[in-house]
Structures are given as structure tokens and as C-alpha cells.
């Protein structure tokens, strides 16, 4: 029973961290139709920023905000100069361009900050564990779960209930028509790209305890994020949430019960799910 509970909490926390990072990728892939393999690189940049800000003596909250702002500022010129050229290009082109960006980021981070592991020190309030009556749970994991829920709710509200969300959805459905109705699509694209990258940075900071920050972070988790988004169905918040929780659970259970198999079960599950639902979990929901 104890094991089951601790696996459940770990799986939930891991799934939520995956969700916070991947949902940004889901936005770029579903709404802007760009396979952005450099998403993990942005999460890593966010984590590095937060690490340096936090070690400079500022608080955890300031570190998170600084990471999100700094990463968005770094990403916007990239959107303008590089990404805008591959909107609507073939998958192969997009994959190559974004792998190229990832390689550049890894190389530069490795050169500037060195190959060592970076940490974001947790504030006093998030250390230790909290007693839930029947057993105690690490506060950090509850915090990660809470962050995931807040991001899911906030993003849903932004896309479904605000004026920006209306413009975004209109641009996605038909960019030319939206532009002729007075929506400045370039700005919508830039803003949603910045949002996606800021979410990646947020996830990179919050998840730094579970996904350790080092220069090859971008390459190591690149595939995981891509897989999660495609299993969930690009552009769908509930789909991504479901996929993250499901795959997070499979991965965590696999690690606990059969660690010698590595990520075997994770990828086996991916093959099964993608074969059954080629358009993602959410794609099946929409069709019916």
C-alpha cells in the first residue's frame, strides 16, 4: 500500500512536470503547426536562468519570473528570424531546423556555463514533507502537481475565454481570413510562441528536481516532450494532460518495478497508443 501510494504521488508529480513543459510545445505544434524540437532547449535555458538568479540571492518566485521573461526575450528574435521561415514547411525541414537550433543551444550552454549539473535551490517552504494524515508526502511534489493544475486551468481560460484566445483560434483556423478581419496574425504568432516558450521555461524551473539540468537536457528530453504531445494530440489541453498522466504513470511504474528495462515500457506504450490513435488521444475524442 505504501509503495502504491508513493508510486502514485511520484507518477502524478512527474506527469504534471511533463505537462507544464509539453503544453507549450502542444501550443506551437497544434496551433502554429511547427514541430519544435528545440522546445526542451528553451526549458533548459529557463532552468539555467533561474539557477543563476536563485544562486545570486533572489527568491524562488523571482527566479521563476526572471527565467520566463528572459527565455521569452531570447526566443522572440529566433521566432522572427528562423521560425517564421518554416511555418507551413514540410516536417523534415522543421525537424532539421529545430534540431539545428537545439544543437546550437547545447553547444553554447556547454561552452558558457560548463558541463556541470545546475540546481535551483528550493525555498524553505517547499522543502521537507507534509503530513496528509495517513502518510506524508514531499511538499515539492505537491507543488509540482499544483503548478500543473494551475497551468492547465489558466491556459484553458486564456484560449477559450479571452479576446486573445479568440484571435488565436481564428488565426489557427484560417490565417488569411483572420488577417483580413483585422487580426494581426504576425503578432498573434509571436505572442503565442513567447507564451509557449515561457511555459517551457516555467516547467524547466519547476521540474528541475525531477529532470536534472545539464547541457544535454535539451537532447535527452526532446524526444519525451515530442512523444507526449503527439500521443495527446497536438493543440489539445485535455489530450496533453491525459497523455502526460498516462505516460508519466507508465514510466514511473516501469522505473519502480522493472528498472532494468529502462524506458522499454514507455516506448512500447507509445507505439501501442499511436497505432491505436494516430491523431492522438484527443483526436479520437474530437472525431466522435
Amino acid at each position: 500500500m505504501q509503495t502504491v501510494l508513493s508510486i502514485a504521488v511520484d507518477a502524478l508529480a512527474y506527469g504534471m512536470v511533463l505537462f507544464v513543459i509539453s503544453i507549450g510545445l502542444s501550443v506551437t505544434m497544434g496551433l502554429m503547426r511547427v514541430i519544435n524540437l528545440a522546445h526542451g532547449a528553451f526549458a533548459m535555458v529557463g532552468g539555467y536562468c533561474a539557477s543563476y538568479v536563485a544562486h545570486a540571492g533572489f527568491g524562488y518566485g523571482i527566479a521563476i519570473v526572471a527565467a520566463m521573461v528572459a527565455t521569452a526575450i531570447i526566443a522572440l528574435p529566433l521566432e522572427r528570424l528562423l521560425y517564421r521561415r518554416i511555418y507551413g514547411a514540410s516536417e523534415l525541414t522543421q525537424v532539421l531546423m529545430t534540431i539545428g537550433i537545439t544543437f546550437c543551444v547545447i553547444g553554447l550552454v556547454n561552452y558558457i556555463f560548463g558541463p556541470t549539473l545546475k540546481t535551483v535551490p528550493l525555498p524553505e517552504a517547499l522543502r521537507g514533507s507534509v503530513d496528509l494524515g495517513f502518510r506524508s508526502v514531499a511538499k515539492y511534489r505537491l507543488f509540482a502537481i499544483l503548478c500543473g493544475l494551475i497551468v492547465a486551468g489558466g491556459l484553458w481560460y486564456l484560449i477559450e475565454r479571452t479576446a486573445f484566445g479568440v484571435r488565436l483560434r481564428a488565426t489557427v483556423d484560417n490565417a488569411n481570413m483572420a488577417a483580413s478581419l483585422g487580426v494581426r496574425t504576425q503578432i498573434v504568432y509571436a505572442a503565442s510562441f513567447a507564451l509557449a516558450v515561457a511555459l517551457a521555461a516555467f516547467g524547466g524551473v519547476v521540474g528541475s528536481e525531477l529532470l536534472p539540468l545539464e547541457p544535454y537536457y535539451a537532447l535527452r528530453y526532446m524526444v519525451t516532450f515530442l512523444v507526449v504531445v503527439s500521443v495527446g494530440g497536438p493543440g489539445s489541453i485535455p489530450g496533453a494532460l491525459l497523455a502526460c498522466l498516462l505516460l508519466g504513470a507508465i514510466d514511473t511504474i516501469g522505473r519502480y518495478l522493472a528498472p532494468e528495462y529502462g524506458e522499454f515500457f514507455f516506448y512500447l506504450a507509445v507505439i501501442v497508443i499511436v497505432t491505436l490513435f494516430p491523431r492522438g488521444l484527443a483526436g479520437r475524442l474530437k472525431k466522435q
Binding site: M29, I35, L82, R85, I86, S90, E91, L92, T93, V95, L96, M97, I99, G100, I101, T102, F103, C104, V105, I106, G107, L108, N110, Y111, L219, V223, L226, V227, S230, V231, P234, E260, Y261, G262, E263, F264, Y267, L268, V270, I271, V274, T275, P278, R279, G280
Partner: protein
């Protein structure tokens, strides 16, 4: 062969260009042997990877299937040949190559069956999942594959019983170039055969080919098996030349690098695949020797530059320039 449907002059032209290409490969092979006698191991590695890139070109360039998991087929060939040598005492290099070919073909069949279930993004993700699955399986079955330590104890017999594999890798280099030439000639027949044309038609317009009554799925799957056989030969060659098989031959990184080489050279042409491999591996060798820290950054910049400025790759862009030039004259 396909002369029935084409004017004889074109067929003659193609034979001529094939012979010129063949002469260029043999010429480069001989030049490499005499110019870089101390670097034959690297050259052999280039030939092995060139076989992988050629096989990727069959699938990506001729069938239009983007895959990030092609190293699975290469690794299957390498492990097939390696396990046959280390566990079953099959140490004749020709037999090892044959086993690698068969193992690669089987892996091609498996990965083709899985990949062809989906399209677009889902297909890309499936290919990644397949190569990771192969990787984890090889890691787990360490009794057979040596796990993360790599599979050692491969000592091939002299080639044809005559030529000993020497320390400088001369024999294996000659063997590699001969294999490459044979594979190249066979692949030229394949891609110019009616079957190759059908695959190109599928890349251009799948629905139309289907409406014409051809089996899209069947043709793609057959191409996957052929591609697997070629990659398997490359893997076996790598096993014979380095006498060790590591998990890196089944890695996502190798798959991604193969795709980068193919696009660098030019998708959809056998020459492009060869030129891309040589250019990338040479670049890798020079830059990583000069400055290992910036190696990855340089590759990244190179990739972005290719996508922006030479989307058809080195060979494709050069060929386009040449035809434009001759058209003007």
C-alpha cells in the same frame, strides 16, 4: 530495362551517368587509400555510415517517409553479424555480411510494419519509439549483446581465406569499398526499375497511385525491407571493421545524424546520400579535432544554414545550378 517506355537516348544517358558515378566512387575510394593511409579506419567508418544513409534515402527520399529511427536497421545488422561471430562461431566475413543483411531486412520489415500504420507526425514519433525500443531491448538482453559494455570477441577470419584483416585496416577498407560499389550498382537498378518509379510516384501523390490500382502499402513495405538489407550490410561492415558492436549503433543520435547527412547531401538521389555522408563525417572529424567544445554548435549552424540556403542539399543545389547554367547557354 525500362527502355520500353522511354526513348533510347535517355536510357543511354542514364547508363553513361551511372558509369561516371561508379568511376567517381571507385576513384575516390582509391584516392582515399593512397592519400590517407593512416586514416583508413575513419574511411571505413564513412563507408559503413554511407550505407546507412543510402538506405535511409531509399525510404525518405524515394518513398517520402521521414524517419528518425533508421539506426534500428543498422544496429540490427551490426548485432546480427556480431552475435553470429561471437556466439555461434560464424567468422567468415562474407557470411557475417550476409547475416547482417538478413537481420537488417527483418528489422526493416518490423519497423516498416509499425511505421506504415501512421502518417506525418505520428509516423515520426513511431520511428523514434522503434529505435528506442530496439535500444532498450539490446541493453536488457546483455547476455547476447553485451549490454552497455558492447559486444566484443568478434574476430573475423581472413577474407575469402586469403586476405588477413591487418592492423592498419587495409583489407577491410578494400572490402568496404567493394561492398559500397556493389550496393550502389544494385540500388541504381532498384531506383530506376518500375518498382522504384512506383515508389517515387507514391512520394509525389499517394492517392493517385492508389487510384491507379497499385498497392501503396505493399510497395513502401518492400522498400523498407530493401532499405533494411542495405543498412544491415552497413552495420555488419561496421562490426567487421571495429570488431566490437556498441549500443550507440542503435541510438537515436545516429538516426538523427544519418538524416542530417542525407539532407545535407540532398534527399532523393543516391549521389546526394554519398556526398552528404562524406561531407558531414569529414566536417565532424576536422571540427571535433580542432575544437571539441564548439563541434555541436557548428553542426547546428550548418543544419540551419542548409535549411535556409540550400534546402535541396549540396548535390541537389549544385545539380540545379548546373542545369540552370546549361539551359542559359
Amino acid at each position: 530495362m525500362t527502355a520500353i517506355s522511354q526513348p533510347a537516348g535517355q536510357s543511354f544517358n542514364r547508363t553513361l551517368s551511372g558509369l561516371v558515378g561508379l568511376a567517381a566512387i571507385v576513384g575516390c575510394g582509391v584516392a582515399g587509400y593512397f592519400l590517407f593511409p593512416d586514416n583508413l579506419a575513419l574511411l571505413t567508418r564513412i563507408v559503413a555510415v554511407a550505407l546507412l544513409v543510402l538506405s535511409l534515402d531509399l525510404v525518405t527520399g524515394y518513398c517520402g517517409i521521414a524517419t528518425l529511427g533508421h539506426a534500428a536497421l543498422f544496429g540490427a545488422g551490426a548485432y546480427g553479424a556480431g552475435i553470429a561471430a561471437a556466439h555461434f562461431g560464424v567468422v567468415s566475413p562474407l557470411a557475417m555480411t550476409g547475416i547482417g543483411l538478413a537481420a537488417g531486412a527483418v528489422a526493416g520489415l518490423i519497423s516498416g510494419v509499425v511505421l506504415l500504420r501512421a502518417h506525418g507526425l505520428a509516423q515520426l514519433v513511431l520511428s523514434i519509439a522503434v529505435v528506442h525500443l530496439f535500444h532498450e531491448a539490446a541493453n536488457k538482453a546483455s547476455g547476447w549483446t553485451g549490454g552497455s559494455d558492447g559486444l566484443s570477441g568478434i574476430s573475423p577470419d581472413p577474407l575469402l581465406g586469403l586476405f588477413e584483416f591487418d592492423l592498419w585496416g587495409r583489407t577491410v577498407y578494400v572490402y568496404a569499398v567493394v561492398l559500397l560499389v556493389i550496393v550502389f550498382v544494385l540500388l541504381r537498378f532498384v531506383v530506376h526499375s518500375p518498382f522504384g518509379m512506383l515508389c517515387r510516384g507514391i512520394r509525389e501523390d499517394k492517392v493517385r497511385v492508389h487510384a491507379m490500382g497499385a498497392s501503396v502499402h505493399g510497395a513502401q513495405l518492400r522498400m523498407f525491407v530493401i532499405s533494411g538489407a542495405v543498412a544491415g550490410v552497413g552495420g555488419a561492415l561496421n562490426a567487421i571493421s571495429t570488431q566490437v558492436v556498441g549500443l550507440d549503433s542503435l541510438s537515436f543520435t545516429l538516426s538523427a545524424e544519418a538524416l542530417v547527412m542525407l539532407v545535407l547531401g540532398g534527399v532523393g538521389s543516391l549521389y546526394g546520400a554519398l556526398i552528404g555522408t562524406v561531407a558531414f563525417m569529414w566536417f565532424e572529424d576536422v571540427v571535433s579535432a580542432a575544437n571539441p567544445f564548439h563541434w555541436l554548435t557548428m553542426v547546428g549552424v550548418l543544419l540551419i544554414a542548409v535549411v535556409l540556403f540550400a534546402p535541396r542539399g549540396l548535390y541537389g543545389s549544385a545539380a540545379a545550378l548546373l542545369t540552370r547554367g546549361s539551359g542559359r547557354r
